[in-house]
Symmetry: C2
Subunit: 203 residues, 2 copies
């Protein structure tokens, strides 16, 4: 499995997931997203949505972070980060989507429409006036999550999963682009600290 890699929280998510599983890509090609190499030429032909990262297996491209992580889990099931049976996988997928819709999407779009607008304005519809709404929605999501995390430091109860990896990658990114964690959210802070201790967090 070849990885098309770049800077940014989405490639970080996939690298962290792979590292946590001890999964090694057979090859890695770095795409220069600051120069827009992902929005033209050979990469755009492979992934017409233009996002990063993507992986390639036997000539078939898989893009979109969570689809890639599902493929890695199917390729190398252990250690499980999604689940070992249908019930566990359903629980993980539910939590992944909760943190994506409530936090990852609005935080990302808050960045793209504000601090990231110069990079993204040639790539998608950008409107600086909507960024404060997105950022506030992401903070609402962290508040909701804080209440859920009472008494635990993993998003899925009792298991470190893809949900932790996905949220960690964007939460770490948020801190570097003006969307820090709210220090009043003690459970989220404890979750972040516990997740950051994984070696994979350096991937």
């Amino acid at each position: 499995m070849k990885l098309y890699d770049s800077i940014g929280p989405n490639p970080k998510l996939v690298r962290m997931f792979a590292a946590e599983k001890g999964f090694t890509f057979s090859d890695t090609e770095t795409v220069d997203i600051m120069a827009g190499a992902n929005r033209q030429g050979p990469y755009l032909e492979k992934n017409p949505a233009g996002g990063m990262p993507a992986v390639e297996v036997d000539g078939a491209i898989t893009a979109e972070t969570i689809a890639i992580c599902e493929l890695i889990e199917e390729t190398q099931p252990n250690p499980p980060l999604i689940g070992t049976n249908a019930a566990e996988r359903a629980e993980t997928r539910m939590w992944v989507r909760r943190v994506e819709w409530k936090i990852i999407q609005p935080l990302t779009d808050g960045f793209r429409n504000a601090e990231g607008s110069q990079l993204f304005e040639s790539r998608m519809r950008i409107d600086n006036s909507v960024a404060p709404h997105f950022k506030a929605v992401a903070q609402d999501g962290f508040e909701w999550l804080d209440a859920q995390l009472d008494g635990r430091t993993t998003i899925v109860p009792g298991r470190f999963t893809l949900a932790d990896v996905a949220l960690y990658a964007i939460a770490e990114f948020g801190q570097s682009v003006g969307q820090p964690l709210n220090a009043d959210l003690k459970n989220v802070a404890a979750w972040y600290e516990a997740t950051a201790k994984h070696d994979s967090a350096q991937a």
Copy 2:
């Protein structure tokens, strides 16, 4: 598997997916979302995110549409609507996420922050001023998809999948809440017409 059902495009998505597979829920309980029954009491205890629908198996709740559909596919693999092997599943999951991020999320949030704001203002942060941005982003997504669909009437090439079901449910809903399909997008129109012919589209 018990279904917690309601009006709206998300329960429609799950019912359509189940119908297409010939999967029957053992029990169905209708939740009155207009009265806010999903944001309080026993339902909120089962699904603390409060969204609809959810399913219950042996006491375990799975919420979030795509997680539910994955669970149905694992429970009854045939006919496959995600895939019969890892490569097919990866391709379907990639396309599901493309249509979700580019169309389903912005169309939904466009509705919630405009026509749906009275229903949703007690449930989440609502700002009427951001709705035009969301609606325009959704239309950009349909334009992007139109170019991808050249020569085919299924979102994943050659297979009717969860991606078709997910987008159909929201596209149908959009037509009823002031976000109709753009008639200039001939490939999207042909895809919609082909999908609407499935008996499951009446679910």
